[in-house]
C-alpha cells in the first residue's frame, strides 16, 4: 500500500500540482470497543494558497480533522498527503504544518520573541536568521513594541497575534487555525478576521481554518467545507454554499432558511402552497416529492389580496431588527415562512400588520431543490 504511493509518478497535471493537502478516506475512531467515529471516510483536497474553512457544529469532527492534518491524532484509516507526498505516518514535529491553537498555547516561561523563535530554533536555524525572522514576524503582526514582554502580560488580542507570528515564523506549507477567534470579543474578532485575511494574502500560505461561526466562514473563506457527524457534506465557495446548498443541513446551518414541500417534474417545481418555478435539481434527485429551500430575503410581502403569481399568507409575527424586518407567515398549506424585508428610509406603511392576510412573492430563481 505504502510502496504503491511512494512509487507513484510525481503529480504533473495543473490541478494536481495545485493541491496542498489531500485527505483520502480518512476515518478516525476514538476508543477500541464501541468507539466513537469522529471522522467517517472523509476525502477532501485543499488547494495551495487557499483560505479553506472547516465549518460545522461542535462535535462534527472539524477539529479532529485538523488534528489529523497536524499529526496530533493518527487516522484509523485513510491517507493524508501534502504536495503529493504521503505524510500519514509522520509525527507532528516532522510535518511542515503549524497550528494556531484555540487557547493560543503560548509558552508562559518565555518572552514574546522567544515564543516566536521556538520553531526556528528547533529547525536548527542560525542565530542571525532567527533574529531576522522574529523581527519580521513581529512587524507582520504589529507587535514590535512588545518583543521582550512575558506572554502573561498580554491581552487576548495580543496573545492571538503572537500565536499567529509563532506559527507563521517557520514558514509552514499549511497553517492550521483551530477556532482562534472564539475567545475574542466581537469588535476584536472583526478586526482579526480582516487581519487574518491580510496575513494569508501577504504570506501566501495555505490556511485551514476551523470555526462553528457561519458568518465568519462566509466572510473569510475562499472555500468552505460544511461538516456534520464526521462527514463533509458540501465543499464550495461561500456563494455556492449559501446560494446552492446541497442538503437541508447545510442550508439550515448557514443563514436563515425556509423549507417547503414541493413536487418536482423535470426542471420545474411546483410548491404545495402554490407557484411554479424553474430549477436545476441536484444530481440524484428524482421527480416527485421534494424539499425546497427559499431564503427569507428572496421573498417579499405586501398587504392586500394575492394577485397572479403571488401566494396567500397570514402574518403571524413581525420582528423589527434595525436594518430589516422579518415577517413570520403562515401559508395556505399550514407551512411557516419567514420573509425578510430591508427597511425603507421612511416608514412606508406598505407592510401588513400582524394577523392580516397578505400576498407573498418569491423571487424567480430563489427556489433551490435539496437532496434530502
Amino acid at each position: 500500500m505504502n510502496a504503491l504511493h511512494s512509487t507513484a509518478a510525481p503529480p504533473s497535471s495543473a490541478a494536481e500540482r495545485e493541491t496542498a493537502i489531500e485527505a483520502r478516506g480518512i476515518t478516525k475512531i476514538f476508543g477500541a470497543a464501541n468507539g466513537f467515529m469522529a471522522l467517517d471516510n472523509v476525502s477532501v483536497a485543499i488547494r495551495r494558497n487557499e483560505f479553506f474553512t472547516l465549518l460545522g457544529p461542535s462535535g462534527c469532527g472539524k477539529t479532529t480533522l485538523l488534528r489529523v492534518i497536524a499529526g496530533f491524532e493518527p487516522p484509523t484509516m485513510g491517507v493524508l498527503s501534502l504536495n503529493g507526498r504521503d505524510i500519514s505516518q509522520l509525527p507532528p514535529n516532522k510535518r511542515p504544518v503549524n497550528t494556531v491553537f484555540q487557547n493560543y498555547a503560548l509558552f508562559p516561561h518565555m518572552s514574546v520573541a522567544n515564543n516566536i523563535a521556538f520553531g526556528l530554533e528547533m529547525l536548527g536555524k542560525s542565530k542571525s536568521e532567527i533574529k531576522d525572522t522574529v523581527t519580521e514576524m513581529l512587524k507582520l503582526v504589529q507587535m514590535e513594541h512588545l518583543r521582550s514582554r512575558r506572554t502573561s502580560e498580554l491581552s487576548g488580542g495580543q496573545q492571538q497575534r503572537v500565536a499567529l507570528a509563532r506559527a507563521l515564523a517557520p514558514k509552514p506549507e499549511v497553517l492550521l487555525l483551530d477556532e482562534p477567534l472564539s475567545a475574542l470579543d466581537l469588535k476584536l474578532r472583526k478586526e482579526m478576521q480582516i487581519e487574518l485575511k491580510r496575513l494569508q494574502h501577504e504570506t501566501g500560505i495555505t490556511f485551514i481554518f476551523v470555526t462553528h461561526d457561519q458568518e465568519e466562514a462566509l466572510t473569510m473563506s475562499d472555500r468552505i467545507a460544511v461538516m456534520s457527524a464526521g462527514k463533509i457534506l458540501q465543499v464550495g465557495s461561500p456563494r455556492e454554499i449559501y446560494a446552492k446548498p446541497a442538503e437541508r443541513f447545510v442550508a439550515n446551518f448557514i443563514g436563515e432558511s425556509n423549507f417547503l414541500n414541493a413536487t418536482l417534474a423535470g426542471d420545474s417545481v411546483t410548491l404545495d402552497a402554490g407557484g411554479r418555478f424553474t430549477v436545476t435539481p441536484p444530481e440524484g434527485v428524482a421527480d416527485g416529492e421534494v424539499s425546497v429551500l427559499v431564503r427569507p430575503e428572496h421573498a417579499s410581502v405586501r398587504a392586500g389580496e394575492p394577485g397572479a403569481g403571488e401566494l396567500a399568507v397570514t402574518v403571524e409575527t413581525i420582528v423589527y431588527s434595525g436594518d430589516a424586518t422579518t415577517l413570520h407567515l403562515k401559508l395556505a398549506t399550514g407551512e411557516t415562512f419567514k420573509a425578510k424585508q430591508p427597511n425603507a428610509p421612511a416608514e412606508a406603511g406598505v407592510l401588513p400588520a400582524e394577523g392580516d392576510s397578505a400576498a407573498l412573492t418569491i423571487a424567480p430563481g430563489a427556489v433551490t431543490v435539496l437532496k434530502d
Binding site: 503549524n98 521556538f118 520553531g119 528547533m122 517557520p170
Partner: protein
Amino acid sequence: MSEASLTTAIVEERVKPAKRRRAYNVRRLPGFAPIALFTFFALYAPLSILVFYSFNAGTSLAIWEGFSLRWYQQAANNAQVLDAAVRSLLLAAVSASVASVAATMAALATTRTRRFKGRTMIYALINQPLMVPEIVTAVALLIVFAWIKVATGYTGMIYLIAAHTAFCIPFCYLPIRARLETMDDTLEVAARDLYAPPLKVLTRVTLPLLWPGIIAGYMLAFVISLDDVVITEFVKSAGQETIPTYMLGQLRRVVTPEVNAISTVILVAGAVLVTLFFWISRGRR
C-alpha cells in the same frame, strides 16, 4: 486600553469587599473566636515553651534562670550532635534528590500518557507508603536489610538512603503531579507542532514549567526525611545517628535544654523550608 481595564480592575476591587460582607460568613457563628484561639494556643504554646527554655541559663526545663546561649554553644561544640547533623542533612539531601527524580518520572508517566488500564492502580501503589503505618514499614525493612547485611557484610549509609528515598517518593509525587495536572498540555502539543522532538519538548517546555512542583516536592521530602525517627531507628547500623535519633537517645538519659536548642534550630530550618515551599508553589503559576 490597558488603562481602561486597570480602571475596571480598581472598581471591581472596590466593589468586592461590599459583596463579601453580605455573603455567608463563619466568623459570625457563635464560639468561632474562642475555638480559633484555643486551637492556635494548643498548636503553638508547647513550641513557644520549648523555644523559650532553649535560652535558659540553668539546666532545668522548668525553672527559668536567666537568658543565655550556652545550650546553643554546647550543641554546636558537641561532636555527636555535629556528626548526627551532618548525617541527617546528607541523608535528607540525597534521599530527596533521588525521590524527586523518581517521582518526576512517575508523575510524567501517570499524566502525560494516554489513559491506560490500571492507571488508578498505579496511583494507589505510588501513594501506598502514605497509608502503611510507619512502624510496619520499619519492621519490614529491618528484616529485609538484616538479610542483606548478613549476606553482604555491608553496613553503610545505603540502607538509610534507600529507606528514606522510598518513603519520600509519595511526598514528592503529590506536588509534582498536582502541578502537571494544572499545566496546560496543549503547550507540549504546541512545542511538538513547532518541530520539537519528544526529548526537546521535555527539556524546553515540560521541565521548565514543572520546576516549581519539583522544588516543592524536594523540599517537602527533605523536611520529611530530616524529621524521621521510626524508620531510621530500625534501619540504621551502629553509630549512624541522625539528629532525631540522637535526641531520642538523649531523652533516655539526662534531659538538658540542649535538646531544646537543637529542636529550635530544626524548627526554624523547617519553617524556612516550608515557607519557601509555599512561595514557590504559589508563585510562577
